[in-house]
């Protein structure tokens, strides 16, 4: 069973609905990156609300997917991590380094949009920032 990926404007939306195998997780990673490349989507929202176990393998898949998407010029946000999963990750000494996260899908979409806007405006922002820091030094 393949996990469906929906397209909503600039964003790809996908949701893990139950505990999945390593193979399914890897397939999802490949599918997400392929769709990101094929479509003109800029961001991916991956909802893991229903995921009740995130072990070292899943942690690695999640953070690698986010890093690969970023290399391609896209952005991934992971939403809905349960408090118990977060607790286990921290206790294991793991983290989702550099991965955008949000409490739920709604906040995830907002975060993704803000991030995508910010990246899109990067060239406009830079002179303003430099001026800002120059003033601070004066």
């Amino acid at each position: 069973m393949r996990i469906p990926i929906l397209r909503l404007g600039d964003i790809l939306l996908t949701s893990i609905q139950s505990d999945i195998t390593d193979d399914q997780a890897l397939t999802l990673q490949v599918d997400i990156l392929k769709q990101l490349g094929d479509s003109r989507a800029l961001g991916v929202l991956l909802d893991i609300t229903a995921l009740d176990v995130v072990d070292s393998y899943m942690t690695r898949i999640l953070s690698e997917t986010a890093r690969m998407a970023r290399l391609m010029g896209g952005e991934v946000v992971i939403t809905g991590m349960s408090p118990m999963v977060a607790l286990s990750l921290i206790e294991m000494g793991r983290d989702l380094h550099d991965v955008l996260t949000a409490l739920d899908v709604e906040q995830g979409v907002e975060k993704l949009k803000r991030r995508l806007d910010a990246t899109g405006d990067e060239d406009d922002d830079r002179p303003r920032c430099e001026r800002g820091s120059a003033n601070a030094r004066d």
Binding site: I20, D22, V53, Y57
Partner: protein, 137 residues
């Protein structure tokens, strides 16, 4: 009072079985009345050990037993495989050591989630035993 009150076995031959093993662990913890945090800890630890048995041991079995002892619940999980064994257990337990081109975080991570993790290993037989003990409520 002491003794095994219940036990279940999951054979580990495919990635689906790794999911089955960790979910069986969660259910056993829930059946004993352990909270969501402990259920998740146990399921996550089992996932690491069962995956190792599949990848490095070529498959195996996961036995989950629950028992009562002196006002406590105790869950013991024993994962057995008949693969090549772990030559240097201490190194295998240290974070970052991997012969599988991975992160080497499975065993040390699992050890932090449960009360005890013991490994017995020689060529042809590896047994990893996890235990969790909680006050009966």
């Amino acid at each position: 009072m002491r003794g095994t009150d219940s036990s279940s076995v999951v054979l580990i031959a495919t990635p689906e079985d790794v999911v089955r093993a960790r979910q069986a662990g969660r259910m056993a913890a829930a059946a004993l009345g352990l909270g969501l945090a402990d259920q998740t800890r146990l399921a996550t630890a089992i996932s690491e050990i069962a995956r190792n048995a599949l990848h490095y041991g070529g498959g195996g079995r996961c036995e989950i037993s629950a028992c009562q002892e002196e006002g406590h619940h105790r869950i013991t999980v024993q994962v057995t495989d008949h693969g090549p064994g772990i030559p240097e257990i201490e190194r295998a337990m240290s974070p970052g050591f991997s012969t599988g081109n991975s992160l080497g975080m499975g065993l040390p991570g699992a050890a932090k989630l449960v009360d005890s993790l013991a490994i017995e290993s020689r060529p042809g037989l590896t047994q990893v035993t996890l235990a969790m003990r909680r006050k009966a409520r």
